[in-house]
Amino acid sequence: MGNGPAGEAKTTYREALREALREALDADERVFLMGEDVGRYGGCFGVSLGLLEEFGPKRIRDTPLSESAFVGAGIGAAMAGLRPIVEIMTVNFSLLALDQILNNAATVLHMSGGQFPVPLVIRMTTGAGRQLAAQHSHSLEGWYAHIPGIRVLAPATIEDARHMLAPALADPDPVLIFEHGTLYSASGDLDPAAGPVDLDTASVRRPGTDISLITYGGCLPKAMAAADTLAADGISAEVVDLRTLRPLDDATITGSVARTHRAVVVDEAWRSGSLAAEVSSRITEQVFYELDAPVERVCSAEVPIPYARQLEEAALPQAVDIVKAAHRAVD
C-alpha cells in the first residue's frame, strides 16, 4: 500500500501526483494544467504547489469559478490538438460540468464518426472521511464509470499516483482520474522499479486463497487492514485493487474469485446502483459456479454524508465491516 516503515517516508501520494504532472509538462509542450486555484494558490489540496513558478502562467492556468466553461474549454483544446489536464476541485463540483463531460467529451468522437478524438485528462478529488459533509464528500466515480467513451481511473497507491498520468495522457480519449481525499497525505517509499501503469488491468495488492476483497481508491487501505485482521483469524484474503473503474478488468476479478471462491466488494459509494453492484453482477454472470457463498458488498449507508464525526464514520465502509462480511462468506 506504499506505506513504508515509519520514519522512512520518502514521498507522499500528493508529491507523487505532482511529480507526475511535472514529468508530463516537461515531456510534452502540448500539456498544460488548468483549474480553480491550481496556480497561485497551489491547488486546493496542494497537488500543483510550485508548478506555476516552474512552468509559468500559460501552462499552469488559474480559471474563474466556471466548471462548465473550463472543462468545456479543455475539451475544445484537446480537440484542437493540445493535451490539457483539467483539475476540478471535487467530484461534487464536477456536477456543474457534467453536461460538458457527458454530452461533449464522451460523445464527440462517436457523433463525429471518429473524426474528433478528445485526448483530455480530468483530475478531481473524491470521497469522504474529513468531516466535510454532504456537498464535499461523495463518491460519484461510479456514475462516471457508467459512461461509454471515457476511461475512469482511481489511483490508490503512491506508485499509481505517480505512474497513471503518463498513460492517461497517451490515451486518445477522455480520462477521468479520481483522487481520494484521504490519500493525499499517505506517505511511503515509491517503488523505483514501478513504471507506467497498464490502464487495462486491475492489480492484486495482496495474494490470498480464501476470499477476494475487491475494492479501489480510498477503501484500499481499509481492505488491506481487514486482510491483516482476517489473517490473524486464520483467513487468507486476497485484495484486488480495481484501479481502472472503466473499463473493468474482468479477467483479474474473475480470476481471483475462481481461486478463492468467495468475494466481498468494497465501495465507498452508495450500494444502490453502485459500481459494487456492477462488479458483483459480473462475478455472478461469469464465475457463478465457482462461488461457495453469495457475493458480499460493503458500501456507504444510503445517506448524504453527515458532518458529525461519529455519524460520518458510521456512514462509511470500515475495516471491521469488511471483516464481518468476509466472515459471513467464509464461516
Binding site: 497561485r40 474563474p64 456543474l96 466535510l132 459533509a133 456537498q135 444510503e302 455519524l311 464514520e313
Partner: protein, 361 residues
C-alpha cells in the same frame, strides 16, 4: 459610497404588464424598524453588538478548531461583519435568507442563537442542523434561513425559487441571497439574474465582494471587475456599497428592500468588503500581501463604528466593555451548552434521509 452607480432602470411597461399581480398589494408589507442608520445611539449599540458577536464567536471558533472540537471546513467572516449585520437590519423575520459556506455571520445576524450555531459546529444533536451540516450547512426554518450552501453559486437558483413562490402567492416578502464575487463567474449567477429580472422576482442579490475567490484575486477572476455594472446589464437596479461601513450597508439594503417590496424586481448590491483571515482553516494564505491585509484592517467595520459613536460622545470605553462582556457571556454559554449537548446517536444515521425517516424518534 452608496451613490447609485447604475440608476434604476426605467419602468418597463411590457414587463410591468406581464408581471402585474394584484394579490401582491393585498397585504401591506410588514415594516422593519424605522431607518435610524447612523443617527441613533441605541440602534448603533445593537449594530455594534451584532458585529461583535460575530467577531468574538469566530475568534472562539478558531480556538475550538485548534482544540479539535470543531472539524471540517470552516470559513471565517472576520472583517466582513458590517455586511451581514447591515443587510439583516433591512430584513424582517418574514423575509428569507439563503447563504454560503461562509455563513456564521449571516446566521448570527439573522438571530439564530449562538448556541444552536455553535452546537452545529460541534456536530451535536442540539445543532441547528442536528449535526448533519456543520459550519458550512447551517439551516433554521424558524428564522427562514435556507442554508449555507457550499457549492459556489448553488444557492442562487434556490433563492429565486423562494422569491417566485412569494411572487405567485402575493406575499410581500423578500428573499435575500448572499454570495461572493467568485460566484459571478458561475453560470448559475447569470441564469438566476436573468430569470429574476425577467420575472420581476422579489430577490435581493447581496454580493460580498471581498476581492478574492479563495486564492484568486478579482482581476484574475473577472474580465470586467465592475460587478454592479454586470448585474445591471440584466435589467435590475444595482450599485456598489462600502461594505466596511455598517451604516452605508444598512442604508443601501433598506433602499433596495423598499424597491423590491414596491414591486420593482430584483436588486443587486455589490458590498465591497475584505476578509481579514485566510479563506478557510486549510488555507496558508500565500497569495496576498500582508501589507494589503493590514491596510484593510485599518477600515475594520467594528472600529469604524465605535469611533463614530465615540465622536458623538454618548459613548465611552465603559459602554464598550459592557457590550464586550455581554457578548462574551453569550459565547461562553454557547460553548458550555455545546460541550454538554448530546451527540446524535449513530443508530440515527439514516434519519432525515427521507421525510418518513425524519419522523423516526
Amino acid at each position: 459610497m452608496t451613490a447609485a452607480r447604475t440608476p434604476k432602470p426605467a419602468a418597463n411597461p411590457v414587463r410591468t404588464a406581464r408581471t402585474a399581480n394584484p394579490a401582491r398589494t393585498a397585504k401591506a408589507p410588514r415594516r422593519t424598524r424605522p431607518d435610524t442608520a447612523g443617527a441613533d445611539t441605541s440602534h448603533d449599540r445593537d449594530l455594534l453588538r451584532a458585529m461583535l458577536l460575530i467577531r468574538r464567536f469566530e475568534e472562539r471558533c478558531v480556538e475550538l478548531y485548534s482544540a479539535a472540537k470543531i472539524r471540517g471546513f470552516v470559513h471565517l467572516y472576520i472583517g466582513e461583519e458590517a455586511v451581514a449585520v447591515g443587510v439583516s437590519e433591512a430584513l424582517t423575520p418574514d423575509d428569507a435568507v439563503v447563504s454560503t459556506y461562509r455563513e456564521h455571520g449571516h446566521a448570527l445576524a439573522r438571530g439564530i442563537p449562538a448556541e444552536a450555531v455553535m452546537a452545529e459546529m460541534y456536530g451535536k444533536a442540539t445543532g441547528c442542523s442536528h449535526g448533519r451540516g456543520g459550519s458550512m450547512h447551517l439551516f433554521d426554518a424558524g428564522h427562514r434561513f435556507y442554508g449555507g450552501n457550499a457549492i459556489v453559486g448553488g444557492g442562487l437558483p434556490l433563492a429565486a425559487g423562494l422569491a417566485l413562490a412569494d411572487r405567485m402567492r402575493g406575499e410581500p416578502r423578500v428573499t435575500c441571497c448572499f454570495f461572493g464575487d467568485g460566484a459571478l463567474a458561475e453560470g448559475e449567477f447569470h441564469e438566476t439574474a436573468n430569470l429574476a429580472a425577467l420575472w420581476g422576482l422579489p430577490l435581493l442579490l447581496a454580493c460580498e465582494n471581498n476581492l478574492y475567490a479563495m486564492g484568486t484575486a478579482l482581476p484574475r477572476e473577472h474580465a470586467q471587475t465592475d460587478l454592479a455594472m454586470r448585474a445591471a446589464s440584466y435589467g435590475m437596479a444595482a450599485w456598489a456599497v462600502d461594505g466596511m461601513d455598517v451604516h452605508a450597508v444598512e442604508r443601501a439594503a433598506r433602499q433596495a428592500v423598499e424597491g423590491i417590496r414596491a414591486g420593482s424586481g430584483p436588486h443587486f448590491l455589490e458590498l465591497r468588503t475584505y476578509r481579514f483571515r485566510a479563506h478557510s482553516m486549510y488555507d496558508p494564505d500565500r497569495y496576498r500581501d500582508k501589507a494589503e491585509i493590514e491596510q484593510w484592517k485599518e477600515r475594520d467595520p467594528i472600529a469604524t463604528l465605535t469611533e463614530r459613536m465615540r465622536a458623538r460622545s454618548e459613548w465611552d470605553d465603559k459602554a464598550l466593555a459592557t457590550i464586550e462582556r455581554l457578548v462574551a457571556e453569550e459565547i461562553d454559554q454557547a460553548v458550555e451548552a455545546s460541550e454538554k449537548a448530546p451527540t446524535e446517536p449513530a443508530e440515527d444515521l439514516l434519519r432525515f434521509v427521507t421525510s418518513r425517516s425524519a419522523e423516526v424518534n
